[in-house]
Amino acid sequence: MNLELFVMFSLLLFSVGLYGVLTRRNLIAVLIGVELMLNAASINFMAFGAHHASDPTMGPIFVLFIIGLAAAEVAIALSIVLSVYRVRKAIRVEQLTELKG
């Protein structure tokens, strides 16, 4: 169980999430990719925190903050999805072009 294993796995999970964000055309599916990327970041914080933090509680507390912020982000994003669906009857990203210049 060495540090590189965790960092490499985190990179892999981040890449999968980024691929999802880039390929998906559904707003909720894009949100899933973002969640995967956030989790990859959390793994890094936990691994380096277990490695040599001066204060061992620092890594877990940062991950708790990430989880809290992710919950807030998902709540807002899902309400936007519902609101968009009510107006447009569709939640595909390329159909939302009102703000195009």
């Binding site: 169980m1 060495n2 540090l3 590189e4 294993l5 965790f6 960092v7 490499m8 796995f9 990179l11 892999l12 999970l13 890449s15 999968v16 999430g17 980024l18 691929y19 390929t23 998906r24 055309r25 559904n26 909720i28 599916a29 949100l31 899933i32 990719g33 969640e35 995967l36 989790n39 959390s42 793994i43 936990m46 277990a50 490695h51 204060d55 061992p56 509680t57 620092m58 890594g59 877990p60 507390i61 991950v63 708790l64 903050f65 989880i67 809290g68 912020l69 992710a70 919950a71 807030a72 998902v74 709540a75 807002i76 899902l78 309400s79 936007i80 999805v81 519902l82 669906y85 939640i91």
Partner: protein, 167 residues
Amino acid sequence: MSTFVLFAMGTALLGAMLAVSLSNILYAIFGLGLALLGVAGLFLSLGSPFVAAMQVLIYVGGITVAMVFAVMLSFAMGAKTATGVGLWTRLGALIPVGVLAAAVGLGIQNEGLDAVVLDVTEAIPIADMGMALLQQFNLVFETLSVVLLLAIVGAVTIARKPPEEDA
């Protein structure tokens, strides 16, 4: 312990692959739940059962369920929820992501992190985390509470049906 770590990583990776590739959005959300459970297992093996429990409670129990509700409210049930992604879209995403992963991976390998052995012998005491939250990180903690409150109010405001405007 190492077997458990590999198992958790495999679970998380499988779930993530399912989450980004399945065309039915409901199954993709279940894949995300699997991935989040695997990550919770990793947190457990890194010596923080409390964060692992929070991950299961908030992510798997809260965020995933909220997504399922959003799907149920925003799709006509039974209708096809997603169309397939074209080959060129896949390639166009795969190439930059692959280049990025390879570059960062090579950078990580040069850091010599494989010499660092993590020996997690005991869990981090929850009492210590509570004290740190209320002393050292108190400002961040309170700010996060305000952010969550604003998110709740904002979500309700945005998602609410616009009031009927009768003259």
